[in-house]
């Protein structure tokens, strides 16, 4: 089970800003280790952010995104106390979902 994400969500003037820090190695698959062997690809491919069950952001990541990715975005709506959930899935099929309360 992957390590948890750190999610912060703040609402101001009808707009919610979400900041997510994900714990993931994001191996591109083209990097070589000290002995010259290719390090296998393991990176987040899809990300889905929802508010009250409704999708507010969908993203497709590639191996070009660096380790422990940080994502920041805004959406119209949301209110203090409501939940924002973020789910990522990687190329190996592993996934992780975490949620945060809008402050």
């Amino acid at each position: 089970m992957a390590d948890p994400m750190r999610i912060r969500a703040n609402n101001k003037d009808g707009v919610t800003e979400v900041r997510v820090l994900m714990s993931h190695p994001m191996e591109s698959g083209v990097r070589k280790d000290a002995s010259g062997a290719l390090v296998p690809a393991k990176y987040i491919t899809d990300l889905d952010a929802t508010h009250n069950g409704k999708t507010v952001l969908k993203a497709m990541f590639s191996g070009a995104v660096s380790q422990n990715p940080f994502l920041s975005f805004k959406f119209k709506g949301g209110a203090k106390g409501e939940k924002v959930a973020v789910k990522w899935v990687d190329n190996k099929g592993e996934s992780r979902t975490d949620e945060a309360t809008i402050a």
């Binding site: 390590d3 948890p4 750190r6 900041r19 820090l21 714990s23 070009a64 995104v65 660096s66 380790q67 422990n68 940080f70 920041s72």
Partner: protein
């Protein structure tokens, strides 16, 4: 980092020659760091560290919640800025990492020598990095107050000072070669003067830090180890008196400066 590198490379390419290019590069680097500061991956280590402090682990299946970091058993807030210090139970001056290992040994039954021998970034050394990050973070913005009351603490300061200036190795480097003057840099990396208080959030006040260039969380022991490597010195043993003496010297010099731990480094 790869996508972020593209942005900073574009910023740098936009500049022209000479001093303009250098200013643009410095500005580009500053902007790059600013962008990264919001979402410091060190926060992931803080979360992990808190978990490891409270979790029952080791042969004794106990948590670290009774660990005394100098302010009493279990007192974590404020402890970071008062280390290294003398501990009566071990009769030695200890830094955060060696003190954590003492607790891991006495409370949880781990083998201290084995942890000392484990390479950085592996096994229980990663545990230490996470714990140090979380504990450091709980003193964020507090001012250093590394004690010099006990004779042993004063002695370690004097020993640390001598080690700081000791030139050696194939290149005749000492810590002071890079960290002994104001306003210098190595390549484009600014160097703090560690023979005195270098200011808030600089030098001793900035480790543990997350290093963007290699995506690693580095503690002060790790930083010292790698400094010595670059100085062409042989390896300092992990947790040795040399490493602790240097931390005492730098820490006491930094007294009054605010800690920004966990920091973000290139």
């Amino acid at each position: 980092m790869k996508t972020r590198l593209v942005i900073s490379a574009v910023l740098m390419a936009a500049a022209t020659t000479g001093a303009q290019a250098q200013d643009a590069a410095a500005a580009g680097i500053a902007k790059f760091r600013e962008m990264l500061a919001d979402g410091n991956p060190a926060e992931l280590f803080e979360m992990k560290g808190e978990e490891l402090w409270k979790q029952k682990r080791g042969p004794k299946n106990a948590s670290l919640e009774q660990c005394d970091l100098g302010l009493g058993p279990g007192v974590v807030q404020g402890a970071f800025v008062q280390l290294p210090r003398y501990f009566a139970d071990t009769k030695r001056v200890q830094d955060l990492e060696t003190r954590l290992v003492t607790c891991m040994e006495t409370l949880q039954g781990f083998n201290a020598e084995e942890i000392a021998r484990t390479p950085f970034l592996k096994g229980e050394k990663e545990t230490l990095a996470a714990l140090a990050t979380w504990i450091g973070g709980l003193s964020k913005d507090m001012r250093f107050a590394v004690p010099q009351k006990h004779e042993a603490e004063k002695t370690m300061y004097e020993v640390g000072k001598r080690l700081f200036f000791a030139r050696g190795g194939s290149h005749d480097f000492s810590c002071a070669s890079c960290h002994g003057a104001d306003n210098t840099r190595i390549r484009l990396q600014d160097l703090p003067n560690l023979t005195k208080n270098p200011g808030d959030g600089v030098g001793f006040a900035a480790w543990p830090a997350y290093r963007i260039s290699n995506s690693q969380m580095w503690t002060m022991q790790h930083r010292l180890n790698d400094c010595y490597r670059q100085q062409r010195f042989p390896e300092p043993k992990w947790g040795s008196d040399a490493t602790i003496a240097l931390s005492v010297y730098m820490g006491v010099n930094a007294n009054g400066a605010a800690s920004i731990v966990p920091a973000l480094k290139r």
